[in-house]
Symmetry: C2
Subunit: 209 residues, 2 copies
DNA sequence: TGTACATCAGTGAACGCGCGTTCACTGATGTAC
DNA sequence: TGTACATCAGTGAACGCGCGTTCACTGATGTAC
């Protein structure tokens, strides 16, 4: 909570906007639900009054959307930062998956905000996309990386996959399920993290040893 | 919404309790979040006034807990109903997993109420359990069935798994991830349902063809 | 250099709402005499 | 068989709360003359 703040300078349109998003992200991290992102709580955290938010966002929902978008961008950036485009494809796949799990484990609430409810961002109530459409969509960053890694393994003769999209969907499902179950059921006697991850990757990406 | 109702007879302690849980389940099914289970809305649905609920539940949280427990019981019962104990172990595994996905697809909100947030039911803030403790816990019904199916495949020489618990955890993660992603991202160009399920089972339970 | 003014970031009071929970109560029903 | 009474399922008003959103406003700051 910011107790006192100086009024922003004249042309500083974006500054308060960022502070609002930062405050909203903090609320999400603390409480674990986007429901906790109320305009009054966000304003409290940013050291302003609630009506000020309307200069930067249409309504409460727009603030939540910005939070989700920011979180998704952070996930994409994390994955890109960690994947060396010229490294061994099997290594790239392992490193990328490990980073994905790390993000989900360290920022579970942001991860759930992205994939846990809805995914209405992009297009509301529209028909399903084809695989080609989905791969070309700018919002599919994270999944595209996964498909590319598996295709790279196939090209290098390290995977027997005959359908990189299919196997990427299978692996993504497993990564997502492991992440969310691990977060929500900490009492479960989980096997060793690295062993389980390796098993999921090896078997679902059909890697050859 | 029940518009009119007769007063319950004298010794009918459980009747209103059941009607309250039914109303709460309907709210969950309609709105998709346990947050929608408010005492006033539950009462409206049951045709009573909100304070009447306190005769049967300590507070709002107790109602939500009852809803989650009821949902979990339904899942366990569905799995048991569908698994023939004397059938071919590979078939049992497939049938059980398919039923699991069916439950999650047809009652996505109940499924998420069970596994989506917390899992505090059982023991709050307690240490992780050992595998043996978890398997013996009466609340582990669904997972125990999965382990048993895989162990059955191994015993029949149809699986090369050397650690049924490990592989069950992997398969469960994948089933859970596929279920929740499928619910939350209907726009994603999912591969054929049966193909993906077969791939997950075959590879993660290490079935031999 | 000095002053009037337009701009605009942010305020503070107010609205109507649905909520969880409390409290004193009502009135039908089964039972004791 | 008739009547007084205890039981108890359920009511209705009220409380204080935090919420999203609106509205007229204030007051510091940059700019035009």
């Amino acid at each position: 909570v910011i107790s006192s703040r100086e009024r922003n300078a004249r042309g500083s349109g974006g500054r308060l906007r960022d502070e609002i998003v930062t405050s909203a992200l903090a609320l999400l991290d603390e409480t674990g639900s986007t429901d906790a992102i109320t305009l009054r709580a966000v304003a409290r955290g940013a050291g302003i009054t609630a009506p000020s938010i309307y200069a930067h966002f249409a309504d409460r929902e727009a603030v939540v959307e910005a939070v989700v978008e920011e979180s998704f961008q952070l996930l994409s950036d994390s994955l890109h930062a960690v994947i060396d485009p010229v490294a061994d494809p099997v290594d790239r796949l392992h490193v990328g998956c490990r980073e994905y799990l790390r993000f989900a484990a360290e920022m579970p609430h942001r991860y759930l905000a992205i994939f846990g409810h809805g995914w209405d961002h992009r297009d509301p109530a529209q028909a399903a996309m084809t695989q080609a459409e989905f791969i070309d969509d700018p919002g599919s960053e994270a999944f595209r990386i996964l498909v590319d890694c598996i295709a790279g393994c196939v090209a290098a003769g390290r995977s027997t996959s005959t359908d990189a999209f299919f196997d990427a969907a299978a692996l993504w499902s497993a990564l997502h399920g492991y992440s969310t179950l691990h977060t929500n059921l900490p009492h479960f006697p989980w096997p060793d993290d690295a062993d389980l991850l390796s098993a999921l990757i090896d078997r679902l990406a059909k890697l050859t040893q």
